[in-house]
C-alpha cells in the first residue's frame, strides 16, 4: 500500500529530516510509526499526503510513484487518503455535520448520498446525536472523533493519523485506537504516527521507529519495548 524507497528529505537550510528511509506497508495492514519529536514522523506523513516532496528517493502508494503526480493532481490523491491530525483541523464555525460532509461535498455527491454517508460515519464514531452541534462545544476526544468521521466518510482505502491521541487520556486514547482497529478490520490500511509508547505496547502491531531521520527498527511492538 505504502512503499518508501531510499527516501531522504532535506529542508532548505540543510536540516536532514529523513535519510534513506525504506519500508513497505502491505494493503490491509495496520502499523505504528514512533520516535521522539523531531525524529521525522511528521515529515514522513507529509511525504505520503504530498504536503512535501522527497529530496531523493521514491514514495509509492498502491504502486503509483508520487514523484509523477503533478500539482494539480494532489487534490485527487488526498481524496484517497483519510487524514487525521493532532490538532483536529476542524472548521470551528461549522456544525459537526458540515465538517464531516466536507470531503463528500468537494467530490460533488448528491445531498441524499451525503446525508446518508455522514450519518453512517457519525454513527461509527458514536456522535450521531451531536451532528448539529458546533465542534467548539465538544470535548477533545469528541473533536478527534469528528476528525476521524471526516477522514472515513468517503471510504478511503488508506488512513493516516498524526498523533491522533496526542491530547487524550489513556482511556480515550484506547477508544480511538479501537476505532482504527474497526476500520482496519473492514480492510482499510491504517498508518498511525504516535509517541505514546505505552499505548503501542499493549498491542501487537508492526511498529516502525525513526531516530534522527533514520529507520532504526521495523517489527512487532514487543521488540520495540526492549529498545527503550
Amino acid at each position: 500500500m505504502i512503499k518508501f524507497e531510499q527516501v531522504s528529505k532535506t529542508y532548505p537550510g540543510g536540516h536532514n529530516a529523513l535519510s534513506k528511509v525504506s519500508f513497505h506497508l502491505e494493503p490491509g495492514e495496520m502499523a505504528f510509526l514512533t520516535g521522539h519529536s523531531g525524529a521525522g514522523k511528521s515529515t514522513l506523513l507529509k511525504l505520503i499526503s504530498l504536503m512535501e516532496r522527497p529530496t531523493v528517493g521514491n514514495v509509492l502508494i498502491n504502486g503509483h510513484n508520487l514523484n509523477h503526480i503533478s500539482r494539480k493532481q494532489i487534490a485527487y490523491i488526498r481524496r484517497d487518503i483519510g487524514m487525521i491530525f493532532q490538532s483536529h483541523q476542524l472548521l470551528m464555525g461549522k456544525s459537526v455535520f458540515d465538517n464531516v460532509s466536507l470531503p463528500m461535498v468537494i467530490e460533488g455527491h448528491t445531498r441524499k448520498t451525503i446525508a446518508k454517508r455522514v450519518d453512517a460515519a457519525l454513527e461509527m464514531v458514536g456522535l450521531k446525536e451531536k451532528a448539529r452541534d458546533l465542534p467548539i462545544t465538544l470535548s477533545g476526544g469528541e473533536q478527534q472523533r469528528v476528525g476521524i468521521a471526516r477522514a472515513v466518510v468517503n471510504r478511503p482505502p488508506l488512513l493516516l493519523a498524526d498523533e491522533p491521541t496526542g491530547n487524550l487520556d489513556p482511556k480515550l486514547s484506547m477508544e480511538i485506537i479501537r476505532l482504527f482497529e474497526d476500520f482496519n478490520q473492514a480492510g482499510v490500511s491504517v498508518f498511525i504516527a504516535t509517541h505514546d509508547l505505552g499505548l503501542i505496547a499493549r498491542m501487537k502491531y508492526r511498529t516502525l521507529t525513526l531516530k534522527q531521520g533514520r529507520m532504526i527498527t521495523d517489527g512487532l511492538s514487543q521488540a520495540e519495548e526492549d529498545m527503550y
Binding site: R78, D80, E107
Partner: protein, 326 residues
C-alpha cells in the same frame, strides 16, 4: 475516478446517474454556491456596501458623461437637419428666372426642398420683426435680394457634403452669394469628439481602479478564510472548487454595483433634465435626455459584472495557490 486506486470511484461518478441529472446537479451546485456567496455579503453588509458603492460610483461618472455627450450629439444633429443653405440671387435676375431656378434645383438628388422668398416678401418680414417700421419706407428701392432657402436631404446634411453642395450651388449663374453657416457646427463636433475621448480615458482609468479594488477586497476575503482553505485542501479540494465562492462574490459585487450605478445615473439625469428644461425652452429645442433604457442597463451590468469577475479572478489566481498546508 481515483488516480491511485483503479476501480475506486469518486464523487458523482460513484452512482449511476443520467446526463440530464448530472447537468441539473451542476446547475443546482452552482446556484447553491452563488446564493451562499450572496449570503456572505449579507452577513457582512457594511463591508459589502462599501465595495459595491465604490464600484457603483466609479461606473456612474463615465456613464453619466457618456450619456450627456451622446445626447448633445443628438441635439446638434437635430440642428443640422434643419440647416439651410441661403442663396442670395443677383439683383438682375427676374422673378420668372428665379422660379425656373427653383424648379431646376428641386430635382437635384441632394436637395430636399427649395423655398423662394422674393425681395418684397423679405422686406415685409423685415419690417414686421425688426421694429424699424415706417423708417424702411423712406428707402428708394428694396435693398434686399431675392433669396432661395435650400434644405439638403438628411444624407447630405453633414458639414462636409453640405459644403460640397454649397460649392455646386454657387456655380449657378443666378446665385450671387451662397451661405452655409456650419463652422460653429464643425467646432461643436470637434469639441464633442474631444469630450468623447476624455470620457473614454476616464472610464478606462476608473475601470482599472475598480478591478484593483475588487481584487483587494477578494484578497482580504481569502486571507480571512485561510484556515478554512487549508482544511479544504487537506481533504482534497481542488483550487477550482475553493475559488468558486470567491468568483461568485466578485460576480455579485459587479451585479449590485452595476444596478447601483444605473440607478444613480438615472437620478442624476432626471435632476439635470429638470434644470435643463427651462434653458432648452429659451433655445426652442426639444430635449429629452435619453439612453437610460434597458439597453443601457444591460451594457452597464455587463461591464460591471465583467469588472467584478476580472478583479476576483486576478486575486483568486494569485492567493488561493499560495495557501498550502505545511
Amino acid at each position: 475516478m481515483s488516480i491511485l486506486f483503479k476501480g475506486r470511484k469518486q464523487g458523482a461518478s460513484s452512482k449511476k446517474i443520467g446526463p440530464l441529472q448530472r447537468i441539473l446537479m451542476f446547475f443546482t451546485d452552482h446556484l447553491r454556491q452563488a446564493v451562499n456567496s450572496l449570503g456572505e455579503l449579507y452577513r457582512a453588509p457594511f463591508a459589502a456596501i462599501m465595495t459595491i458603492g465604490v464600484l457603483g460610483f466609479s461606473l456612474t461618472l463615465p456613464s453619466t458623461l457618456y450619456i450627456l455627450v451622446k445626447n448633445t450629439e443628438q441635439i446638434s444633429s437635430q440642428w443640422q437637419q434643419a440647416s439651410e443653405i441661403s442663396l442670395f440671387l443677383n439683383k438682375n435676375v427676374s422673378e420668372a428666372n428665379a422660379q425656373q431656378l427653383v424648379v431646376r434645383l428641386s430635382v437635384w438628388d441632394e436637395i430636399a426642398s427649395v423655398t423662394f422668398i422674393s425681395a418684397d416678401e423679405a422686406l415685409d418680414e423685415f419690417q414686421r420683426i425688426s421694429g424699424l417700421g415706417d423708417a424702411l419706407s423712406y428707402l428708394n428701392e428694396n435693398p434686399l435680394p431675392d433669396v432661395l432657402l435650400v434644405v439638403p436631404t438628411s444624407k447630405h446634411a453633414t458639414p462636409i457634403s453640405a459644403g460640397l453642395l454649397l460649392d455646386k450651388l454657387r456655380k449657378e449663374r443666378e446665385v450671387e452669394i451662397g451661405k452655409l453657416d456650419i463652422e460653429w457646427l464643425e467646432r461643436l463636433y470637434a469639441l464633442l469628439n474631444i469630450a468623447k475621448e476624455l470620457v473614454l480615458l476616464l472610464a478606462v482609468l476608473l475601470f482599472f481602479a475598480v478591478v484593483l479594488i475588487i481584487g483587494n477586497t477578494i484578497r482580504l476575503n481569502i486571507l480571512n478564510r485561510r484556515d478554512e482553505i487549508l482544511v479544504m485542501k487537506l481533504v482534497g479540494a481542488t483550487d477550482a472548487f475553493i475559488q468558486r465562492p470567491f468568483l461568485y462574490t466578485g460576480f455579485w459585487f459587479g451585479l449590485l454595483g452595476g444596478v447601483m450605478a444605473w440607478l444613480t445615473v438615472s437620478i442624476i439625469l432626471w435632476w439635470i433634465g429638470l434644470s435643463l428644461e427651462s434653458f432648452m425652452e429659451l433655445y426652442q429645442v426639444q430635449l429629452d435626455i435619453t439612453g437610460m433604457g434597458v439597453e443601457a442597463l444591460a451594457v452597464m451590468l455587463g461591464v460591471s459584472i465583467s469588472l467584478g469577475l476580472i478583479g476576483s479572478l486576478i486575486s483568486v489566481n494569485r492567493h488561493v495557490k499560495e495557501i498550502e498546508p505545511k
